[in-house]
Point group: C2
């Protein structure tokens, strides 16, 4: 049964970052940032290739010095996804990055120092049709706004800070703007997004910043980015955990998959097991998961322990297995198509999954099923 239904999403302006469009109902894209020294072209390109492979669709590089800004042209030649220059205060680096063909600039106009410098960057962006992301960060907000709104007013401080930077660009008749409102506090960050979305229609780059080490950072990012997206807010996402940036990209995709905003790979539904379970369900689910890891087809596979919720949940899946006493039922479109002994269930189940891939015209993905599960 097809019960996919995506939440109503807030209508935003469309902004083009190279070949990727964000906002205005375009697919929510996954982005990341390199950890290398940008001027080290070889290392940077190598990391970007790994990230592309993991599913990264837009990549950002730190551009805090002229040597890094000058490297952008060479990096661009060697990669396949749009490149964003992250500039903090150095307006000459921004100008150089634009000259080198960067696809987006991330800088906050209020931090650049003078109106003339901002105007120079904005004019260069206009000439090349390059958008600007204003990145509001809970860690670098204006002191006067804190005094105005008090310690519980951080979301309003973030909104007003964004409003100030946006005004600088709008006064220069520049509207090709993306906004981010990042914080390490999920409640504050979500509230800031709700406030912003009720006031502006610029597309939002969503992230929970400084989310922490891998395990807790994964959960924090999933709760934070997930709860904002589930409000229909957000046009591109970036997961920030202290770990391998490829893992950040994989987590980003998984959040989008969970919310049915994107499809990538197989969705596995499996139960936590309980005293009713008579087969090694956790082992089986882990094996099926490993074997299907590289299969990129939007099918839903259920691995269920017992007859209480098993057949019902399996009916929402394309193919399901439901454990019994030393045996298992294989369920397709809500009907039991086969009953197999426990010893045979993994092999037969994988055969049935292959049939589903064939029926759904993903025959070429069959070769991506791993033969081993360890």
């Amino acid at each position: 049964m097809d019960t996919h239904k995506v939440m109503t999403r807030k209508e935003t302006r469309v902004v083009k970052i190279g070949k990727i469009k964000i906002g205005g109902g375009n697919l929510v894209s996954v982005q990341s940032m390199t950890q290398t020294k940008t001027y080290d072209v070889d290392s940077t390109v190598k990391q970007i290739h790994l990230l592309e492979n993991a599913g990264c669709e837009i990549i950002r590089v730190a551009t805090s010095d002229m040597q890094s800004a000058k490297a952008i042209g060479e990096i661009k030649k060697q990669i396949h996804i749009p490149l964003v220059a992250d500039v903090q205060f150095q307006y000459l680096c921004a100008l150089e990055a634009i000259k080198q063909g960067v696809d987006k600039i991330r800088f906050n106009p209020g931090n650049i120092g003078s109106k003339e410098k901002v105007e120079a960057i904005v004019n260069a962006c206009k000439d090349k049709n390059i958008p600007i992301r204003i990145g509001i960060n809970m860690g670098s907000l204006e002191k006067d706004l804190f005094e105005k709104y008090g310690k519980y007013g951080v979301p309003r401080v973030m909104l007003e800070s964004a409003t100030r930077h946006i005004k600088i660009l709008e006064d220069l008749k520049f509207y090709d703007i993306v906004i981010s409102l990042k914080g390490s506090d999920v409640n504050i960050t979500k509230e800031a997004h709700l406030l912003f979305a009720s006031r502006f229609n610029y597309p939002l780059h969503v992230g929970i910043t400084e989310a922490g080490p891998v395990w807790s950072g994964t959960i924090k990012s999933a709760v934070g980015i997930g709860s904002i997206l589930s409000e229909g807010i957000g046009d591109t996402i970036r997961v920030s955990i202290s770990g391998d940036p490829q893992e950040q990209v994989r987590i980003g995709w998984e959040i989008l998959k969970t919310l049915k905003l994107r499809q990538k790979g197989v969705e596995i539904i499996s139960c936590p097991t309980c005293g009713r379970t008579e087969i090694d369900l956790i082992g089986l689910a882990a094996k099926v998961d490993t074997m299907l890891k590289l299969v990129d087809a939007p099918i839903k596979v259920a691995v269920m322990g017992c007859v209480v919720n098993g057949p019902g949940e399996a009916s929402f899946a394309d193919i399901g297995l439901c454990g019994g006493k030393k045996q298992a039922a294989i369920i397709k479109q809500g009907r039991v198509v086969k009953t197999v002994h426990e010893k045979e269930m993994l092999r037969v189940f994988i055969e049935e999954i292959k049939k589903v891939l064939k029926e759904k015209k993903f025959e070429k993905e069959i070769k991506n099923i791993r033969n081993k599960y360890e």
Copy 2:
């Protein structure tokens, strides 16, 4: 700076499960379910002790047979948290579990078979002041309701199914009810919760069912449970992944911590690093994380890579470290208190964390700082 602020939570009835109160603004509790055969008392008690140790506050056991129901009294004697009997169709098991002193029954009155049987259970619950959880599951919904609402109407089917079961109990003047509305689809599950919360004020037990293997199940649970809680909905939670139930409890706590609904252990804020980072930030964050894993004090520790967002984010933390070139600044209440060489930074940072624990009256937690990080 204290920026903790919990979202406004929906007002619900208070329901008592043994010593734990849920609903009505009580703390959101973390629960789990055993994977053992309930009649195997030794294995069940052993697993419950592990779960208690991980932070489980309410435990449920499958009670599908009389042997398991009869074991409940003995299990209760050996554990320290409230016990819930999960009954599917066998009303005699429910009656036996109540006789054995169980603290809550999970059963759906519409599935028991006759009015007389439901009445027998309800009367037994009234006598002993035991609440009932009605567990609506996307995998076992009524066919007639599916026909009524169509394939995109699953949230309404879940609501109406709950309404039917609730009516049976209310007609018997029984109101000591907890509801769960679980599905493996996050969007559907969230929508069902929003519909339910706008209609009823019974407390909600929140979970994403059959969330899948550990990694994807963690993300799905965090997105699903997190986005429901962040609407102010939910009074107790259970994470269902195919894996160790202790891990389910740890994930549950981490979701609540992320949303500031509960406090447990240290919160670590650390950045993903970028081309600006000059120290081994990821390694340092992982080490600090490992060393503080067993420390149960609600302090916030920031480990930041550079001066762009570092000092600002660190000012939201109780203690922070901010990397520079071969050195690091230690920041307390927004002020740099020390600058140390890279080689010394971990040791000195841990010393400063000890001082914070002492100042915040968590001196007894200092002994829980691990000396090693591997």
